[in-house]
């Protein structure tokens, strides 16, 4: 219980597991130094599925589960952690990122206004800048739908697809992933 109060992942309705290095390795995810993911009832399935699938793929079980009662005892200490809410930082295999980049590029190809696209990564956020010939709400809604759909396909990633209208808007070091005449 006293292993490290600043490293607690709430998994489901107060059930939680310790994110130690072994678990990081088992789940193929990297935890920030101080973090906590609180899970409301409405999203428990997501986390449970996510963890189960990661665990299943690694043929292992969580190292520690405790009950809601145990969690209640910890609540006072947890409040302090509330201020330092972090997030899971996936440690994605490059192959998966390449697949996401390819998916985004192929979804952008038929969009007439999209002339070029760049990809960059900041920690766990995969960022796409799309150079467009003009901005409209309908185009932005189309891009947003695409972002939602790709995010659904790769739920462990933060994926942002945003418009740009000139090269200066694109982050230095971004990778050009699409060019159209």
């Amino acid at each position: 219980m006293e292993r490290d109060k600043q490293k607690t992942l709430i998994v489901k309705n107060g059930r939680w597991i310790w994110p130690d290095e072994e678990l990081e390795s088992d789940l193929n995810i990297r935890f920030p130094p101080r973090w906590r993911v609180a899970v409301s009832e409405n999203e428990t399935d997501f986390w449970e599925d996510f963890l189960k699938s990661r665990l299943a793929s690694k043929s292992c079980k969580p190292t520690s589960f405790v009950t809601y009662d145990d969690f209640s005892k910890m609540e006072h200490r947890m409040l302090k952690i509330e201020e330092e809410i972090g997030r899971i930082v996936p440690q994605p295999p490059m192959k998966e990122i390449d697949q996401i980049v390819e998916d985004v590029a192929s979804e952008l190809r038929p969009i007439e206004e999209a002339k070029k696209a760049y990809y960059s990564q900041d920690k766990n956020v995969l960022h796409f800048s799309v150079m467009v010939s003009g901005l409209s709400t309908s185009l932005l809604e189309r891009i947003s739908k695409m972002e939602i759909s790709i995010s659904r396909k790769y739920p462990t990633f933060s994926i942002e697809i945003e418009p740009a209208t000139c090269d200066e808007d694109v982050l230095k070091g971004s990778r050009l992933i699409l060019v159209k005449e």
């Binding site: 409405n42 956020v125 932005l140 939602i148």
Partner: protein, 137 residues
Amino acid sequence: MTLPLQLDKRHITQAKHNESLLSESCFPNPCSQTNLNYKDWTVTIAFYVALHYLEAYLHQHNFRTSFISHTDRNDYLKRIASLSDRKIARVLDKYLALYKLSKYTRYTACSYHYLGISDLCDCFTFALKELPQTLGL
């Protein structure tokens, strides 16, 4: 003694407060006026109206309400939209579009040249009418 408002009510109050800014003379209604000097800020105000309505909804329905960034909130909204919440799913693409547009107008110096009046009217209508109606606020 006046009791503090519940958090969802506070977000609705803040949404209405932001909304009231859009009735000031420097922000004419883009659905009925064409001479707009602050298109970019109209978009941004509309976004912050929408954001507070969404926050109110999350509070009302006991969803997570603490986020470290817009990206964090957007990721969460995507998850609950795909898992369980149809109302969020119905507004999410427009909300994200408004988020992208407001971010773009704030940080790109020439941005307002690209905004058409009908686009502004869309943003305005979505944030002030469609979104709260769909979410039942």
